[in-house]
């Protein structure tokens, strides 16, 4: 049996000094998946996870929707086009950005207990 440790969106944001790009509704994250390849996310990520990526194209939203991923974090200070942010907002997907690299973000999330 795998125990899932949930982490609040607000604590994730605090840990990563992440800035919200969309409306942020508090939610529980069930885990984290890191990948910049969409098919890989479709195959391996689970619903409710935090998805960490440097991809900012519109396809990220489609992919997140397909997998019921509610929160996407862009690292290295990346930000998608306003059109993409608007779409995410309309679909209820929370987009975050952090200046930290993917590696730093992953380390901090693991340390903070998102497993």
């Amino acid at each position: 049996m795998k125990t899932v440790k949930l982490m609040k969106l607000s604590s994730v944001m605090a840990v990563l000094k992440a800035e919200p790009l969309t409306n942020e509704a508090e939610s529980d994250l069930t885990g984290c998946y890191i990948s910049d390849l969409l098919s890989d996310v479709l195959a391996h990520a689970n619903p409710g996870m935090l998805w960490v990526t440097i991809q900012t194209h519109r396809n990220v939203i489609s992919c997140a929707l397909t997998k019921d991923i509610g929160t996407v974090l862009f690292t290295c200070g990346r930000k998608p086009d306003p059109a993409v942010v608007a779409e995410a907002d309309a679909e209820g997907i929370v987009l975050l950005t952090t200046k930290q690299t993917t590696y730093e973000a992953a380390g901090k999330l693991w340390e903070a207990g998102l497993r």
Binding site: S39, L42, A43, H44, N46, N59, I61, L65, T66, P82
Partner: protein
């Protein structure tokens, strides 16, 4: 019309964006419950007519605003905002463009503008745009007395052009960036094909919104005669969309629409996801690897049938293509996060029934079935 929008409830919120994003290419088996998007369109059409050019202006930064949306209404992105991303410069521009040669006098141009009721004329030399004379140039010429001199001497030379495939939202951004009143429009072969002004953009939007408003009126009338009931919800629905090569921006529209239908029918979320992955991967395969094709999704009470056909070039070695990690995606696709070489393997894993046929030069046909009721164990999640 307004009343219909105001009566909207929150549950229809997602329907709005998806329907409005897709109904240019989707064909439904019957006009079913997505009244809202069109009602919103009707609502926006009114708003647009009242506050003309500000709409295009507010769009430019892409932020959702109150444009055409009543405060407190659940809509976050209005139909007008979606349209401005969907419509292209070629949909709005004036064509064919009225042009002149560098030797023509400003006086000649003044008459051209007057007779065609336009505010600027591109100057062509050997078929290529070399400059532009605007109504401001004419006014200056009249003021300073050089109205009879040739255009070549007074035209603006370093002109900025737009491409006809640009989205209107990009065009609006260019208007804001440069402050020009008009842009000559070139096609992919760099030939001048039209001229676009801010006014062209606004009238194009109004025209499209009006069309939607008329459609909703027709549907409202139809609805009062035959109310939808639960048994109708279980009727087969077919979604069909043309998929264009390289159109990465549209990827996922069909699968999102399908998810919506499956959700409405109370299908198990895991099965919804599997069907969505099949549709999404099949669609992106056409976008990335083919010269264009079609995606069709049929939702019946028992299963979802997803068929993707393209017109070529075909898969040289299907066995290889079915292997995880094998990909022939180009650099752009890879940059956008595609081309992991997992598309077909993902589709196979998520399907209850899967078939692919390909012939070089003729194209590829992919067939997948996802059963809606059979309890199928979810695909084994393998962590790399």
């Amino acid at each position: 019309m307004n009343a219909t929008v105001e009566k909207d409830n929150g549950t229809r919120q997602t329907a709005v964006l998806q329907q409005s994003g897709g109904d240019q290419c989707f064909k439904f088996s019957r006009p079913c419950p997505e009244l809202t998007a069109d009602a919103a369109a009707a609502h926006n059409a009114v708003a647009i007519k009242l506050g003309n050019s500000t709409i295009a202006m507010t769009m430019s930064d892409g932020t959702p605003t109150d444009t055409g949306v009543t405060a407190g209404k659940p809509l976050k992105v209005s139909v007008a905002q979606v349209l401005i991303y969907e419509l292209r410069v070629r949909d709005a521009m004036t064509r064919p463009p009225v042009t002149a040669g560098p030797g023509d006098s400003l006086r000649t141009l003044q008459h051209l503008m007057k007779s065609h009721r336009i505010s600027g004329v591109p100057i062509l030399q050997d078929g290529a745009p070399v400059g532009l004379v605007s109504i401001e140039d004419i006014i200056n010429a009249l003021d300073q007395g050089h109205i009879n001199e040739p255009a070549a001497r007074w035209m603006t030379r370093n002109i900025v052009t737009l491409r006809d495939h640009f989205s209107l939202v990009r065009a609006v951004a260019e208007f804001d960036r440069h402050g020009f009143g008009r842009f000559p429009v070139l096609n992919s072969a760099s030939e001048l094909v039209g001229v676009i002004t801010r006014g062209d953009i606004t009238s194009c939007l109004v025209q499209h919104l009006e069309k939607r408003a008329e459609e909703v009126a027709a549907r409202e009338a139809a609805q009062t005669t035959g109310q939808a009931n639960d048994s109708e919800l279980a009727e087969p629905v077919v979604l069909r969309a043309e998929v264009k090569a390289g159109d990465y921006d549209s990827a996922g529209k069909v699968s999102q629409r399908m998810r919506q239908i499956l959700r409405m029918r109370g299908v198990d979320p895991d099965i919804q996801r599997r069907a969505a992955i099949v549709a999404y991967e099949a669609e992106t395969n056409i976008i990335i690897h083919s010269i264009g094709g079609d995606l069709s999704v049929a939702v019946t009470p028992g299963k979802v049938v997803i068929e993707a056909t393209d017109r070529g070039p075909g898969i040289e070695n299907i066995e290889l293509a079915m292997q995880e990690g094998w990909s022939t995606a180009g650099p752009l696709a890879r940059e956008l996060g595609f081309g992991a070489g997992m598309g077909l393997p993902n589709i196979r894993k998520c399907s209850d029934q899967f078939e692919i046929k390909s012939e070089m030069g003729a194209g590829t046909r992919l067939y997948s079935e996802v059963l809606l009721h059979k309890a199928v164990p979810p695909p084994q999640e393998k962590r790399p």
